[in-house]
């Protein structure tokens, strides 16, 4: 009997101790959870190491670039404001713009910048010189034409006079999928192609759709976007090959996508892609 009473007391104490331990554990976990809520460290997995402390140095080729880099450098445009938002998420105080020719950027020379944001489409060739982040914009091919030019299907696209750029990744699409009736005018780069279009010597130019939308938005009397072709490419940021910052840039770009920042910037500076009709090709 005495043993039973003793066992009962021991058991009661044991249960009491367990309850107290469980309560302490729960309280400690709650404290940790609250502390967790108050902490404001990096996104998990990596941290950003800038070339210059507190500064995100961004290389870009074309300033101004309608819709992407507008006004005083870093003030307006999709990529300019995305760079600012990215710097903020990375815990950096400001953004410094480094202007670098496009050919140098795709060759992997960022002139000391941490990152390049210059309407870059990742390709396997470019990936030999650069590390690309996750895409921040979808960029199917878009047909930029002189205002007044019309085309609603492949046949009418083929009848247009085209201009192509030798550095563009979209030129093979013009040649192999659109297959114009007359041989396109071939020029060195996008600036030269736009000059040909403005002069009236060509009717249409194939660009990444967000780029085409930016140009048409800036100069509606001169340009219009006739349509978009099927495609699932994207525009991404580029970092020097083997950069330790790739993981954190990727992670923060996904966060900017998830919290709606990228959608808001796209709507403000580039307009809606949904309104642009799809023109099917045979490719």
């Amino acid at each position: 009997m005495r043993g039973c009473i003793q066992a009962s007391i021991t058991n009661g104490r044991w249960h009491g101790a367990l309850r107290r331990a469980a309560a302490a554990l729960a309280a400690a976990s709650l404290v940790l959870l609250v502390a967790g809520c108050m902490a404001g460290g990096d996104a998990a997995g990596a941290s950003f190491k800038p070339v210059h402390p507190g500064v995100l140095a961004v290389a870009t080729a074309l300033v101004p670039a309608p819709g992407f880099w507008e006004g005083p450098p870093g003030n307006g445009g999709f990529e300019a404001q995305l760079a600012t938002a990215l710097a903020h998420r990375l815990g950096l105080n400001r953004v410094r713009i480094v202007q670098v020719p496009f050919g140098q950027i795709v060759g992997g020379h960022l002139n000391g910048a941490d990152i390049a944001m210059s309407q870059l489409t990742p390709t396997s060739e470019r990936e030999r010189s650069l590390d690309f982040s996750t895409a921040y914009l979808t960029a199917p091919p878009g047909v930029l034409a002189r205002e007044g030019v019309e085309a609603r299907d492949l046949k009418s696209l083929q009848a247009l006079r085209w201009v192509t750029s030798r550095t563009s990744t979209l030129t093979p699409i013009v040649m192999n999928e659109v297959r114009p009736d007359t041989t396109p005018l071939s020029v060195e780069d996008r600036s030269a192609a736009l000059a040909v279009l403005r002069s009236g010597r060509a009717d249409a130019l194939l660009l990444d759709l967000p780029v085409a939308l930016g140009l048409a938005r800036e100069d509606p009397g001169q340009f219009t976007v006739l349509g978009q072709l099927p495609g699932n490419e994207g525009l991404a940021a580029a970092l020097p090959n083997g950069s330790p910052n790739l993981e954190i840039v990727d992670t923060e770009l996904r966060a900017l996508q998830a919290d709606g920042t990228i959608d808001r910037l796209r709507a403000r500076w580039l307009g809606s892609e949904a309104a642009v009709p799809l023109i099917r090709t045979e490719g």
Partner: protein
């Protein structure tokens, strides 16, 4: 033109061939090395995946999507097979273990996140993913006959709590990250979702499924599809409220628990497809994610070591403390451990969503994949030992409706006998068996007659098997008593007048004046309790006029009072069949 078409090695036929070959051969190959079969499925998934031989291309969605179905199925079967009475008896244990298994590893995860200077969202998600677990080894324990034991019931019940809390944390953190003003809205939505899910699973789904099964349940295929649709529908309802589908699937399993008894033919179908197809595909789909080239890098391995330590130690502490509180032996505590340590489903869900919303980088994802593989390996190896250490489970639960046998002459069965069987077995989640007896010279019922009987059985909610025996009713009852496998025998023959056996005998008379039931029993102190219990179950009888036909005469009335015929127990039968005594 080449003789063989190269495109044959791509496309769905090739993918299915490769996957089912892994399901067949994976477990066989690893068992040669003394490893559990499910390791063969995960490793097989890696071998055929994009990072292995590349037989399943990186963008393939077929296997991952089927794997999702397998995951839902795993949770659904866990709810379906759960012995609700044991869960009720162990609800304190389940809640206690669930809270500990969430708080301890979750707290350790939060400590790691804080220590590494992660953001608050990433820290909370790490805690949530370490707190969750998946019942990967449950099928192994079930095969060992341990599914009705206290530690298994506690751990399965605890899984609902831990995974629910983990997924609520995920929903709140994801809501806060994607829309900082949305936290109260997300919490309110989830709370409303659980209320709706609870009401739907308790009040709507069982009635709906029962009504559909009464209509079409005679067809085994339709029966299975109704169950599958119920599972997917409830999962979708959960998703609509921002609750993960696996919680919905588990609720669906609980809702159909009594309609699909563990020993019945429907459960046989559910288990067959689960074992052969859905659950193995889920494990193969995990294997497809494995990429050793990034998993085994310095950063990923360091983080993996940290989170593996937190998960394994956290779950061990939770199971040990809960086990001590509940008075469990160490094999029972280990049983809880092997059920709560594997990380797969909710862990993967939390990790991938954390990755998509920019809280986790690729290093975290790789570290979590290491955790998943190691935890499954650890649990699978430990489980084989634990099964040997656990005391043999008690056979025969002693519950009245655990296994009901109806014996009827070839003119039967009467509607009253079928309803009595359904009413007795349903509350215990028991199964039923109908034996139609015929004399040696009597013609066997043809397939049309048997189909008609099956339709009548389905209409009365009878979930069980049907067989025809050449014997008279008395012989069949005597044999059943001698075998001692049934908890109660319903004799559908009013003229039956034999001595009682060790098993309670209910003699049903579905006569024109209304059904009557007589309990033939050898006496004993529990007889009044048994009569009261039978009458309580019969009180739920709600026959519909249209279905109350037996032979040429229409019956009216409900099953109601039970009269007792006391007789001395037949010595031989009692001696042979002493297992179940109601």
């Amino acid at each position: 033109m080449p003789l063989l078409n190269e495109s044959a090695t791509s496309g769905p036929v090739f993918v299915f061939l490769v996957v089912f070959a892994v399901i067949l051969l994976g477990p066989i190959v690893v068992s040669r090395f003394g490893l559990p079969g499910l390791i063969g499925l995960v490793l097989g998934g890696y071998v055929i995946g994009a990072h292995g031989l590349g037989l399943i291309p990186a963008g393939d969605q077929t296997v991952p999507e089927l794997g999702q179905l397998g995951l839902l199925y795993l949770m659904f079967v866990a709810g379906l097979e759960l012995d609700l009475q044991i869960l009720r008896e162990n609800r304190r244990a389940a809640i206690g273990l669930g809270l500990l298994a969430f708080v301890v590893p979750g707290g350790l995860g939060v400590c790691i996140g804080l220590g590494l200077g992660w953001s608050h969202g990433a820290t909370l998600l790490l805690g949530a993913l370490l707190a969750s677990h998946t019942l990967i080894v449950y099928p192994t324990l079930r095969e060992a006959g341990l599914s009705d034991t206290r530690p298994v019931a506690s751990a399965v019940g605890a899984t609902v709590l831990t995974d629910t809390l983990a997924l609520i944390t995920l929903a709140v953190v994801a809501g806060a990250e994607t829309d900082p003003g949305a936290v109260p809205r997300v919490i309110a939505k989830i709370a409303i979702g659980f209320v709706v899910l609870g009401i739907f699973s308790i009040a709507v789904l069982p009635r709906l499924v029962e009504a559909v099964l009464r209509q079409w349940g005679a067809d085994g295929v339709a029966r299975y599809l109704v169950i599958l649709v119920a599972m997917l529908g409830t999962s979708l309802l959960a998703l609509a409220f921002g609750i993960e589908g696996i919680i919905g699937a588990f609720f669906a399993g609980l809702a159909l628990n009594s309609l699909v008894p563990n020993e019945g033919p429907s459960m046989e179908q559910v288990e067959f497809f689960g074992t052969a197809v859905f659950v193995p595909i889920f494990l193969v789909s995990i294997g497809l994610l494995l990429d050793p080239s990034v998993m085994f890098t310095g950063d990923a391995l360091s983080l993996a070591a940290l989170i593996c330590g937190a998960a394994f130690i956290g779950k061990a502490v939770a199971c040990w403390v809960a086990g001590a509180w509940l008075g469990f032996s160490w094999p029972e505590r280990l049983t809880m451990y092997v059920l709560t340590v594997p990380q797969a489903a909710a862990t993967l869900a939390v990790t991938l969503i954390g990755f998509e919303i920019g809280l986790f980088g690729v290093t975290v994802v790789n570290a979590v994949l290491v955790l998943i593989v190691v935890s499954i390996l650890l649990a699978a190896i430990l489980t084989r030992r634990v099964v040997g250490w656990m005391p043999a489970p008690e056979r025969g639960s002693g519950r009245l409706g655990a296994r009901v046998l109806v014996v009827t002459p070839v003119t039967g069965p009467s509607d009253a006998a079928v309803r009595a069987a359904a009413l007795l077995s349903r509350p215990d989640g028991g199964s039923s068996e109908l034996v139609v007896t015929r004399a040696p010279g009597e013609p066997a019922p043809d397939s049309a007659e048997l189909r008609g009987v099956r339709q009548r059985l389905a209409r009365h909610g009878f979930e069980g098997t049907l067989r025809v025996e050449v014997a008279d009713v008395s012989d069949a009852v005597r044999r059943a008593a001698a075998a001692g496998e049934h908890s109660v025998v319903i004799v559908d023959e009013p003229a039956f007048d034999h001595a009682p056996t060790g098993i309670p005998l209910l003699v049903v008379d579905g006569g024109l004046s209304g059904p009557s039931v007589e309990l033939v029993h050898g006496g004993g102190s529990e007889i009044d309790e048994m009569v009261a219990e039978i009458q309580r179950r019969f009180a739920r009888d709600a026959p519909r006029a249209r279905t109350l036909r037996r032979g040429s005469g229409a019956m009216t009335g409900r099953l109601g009072s039970v009269t007792v015929r006391r007789r001395p127990v037949a010595a031989a039968a009692a001696g042979d069949g002493g297992a179940a005594d109601g």
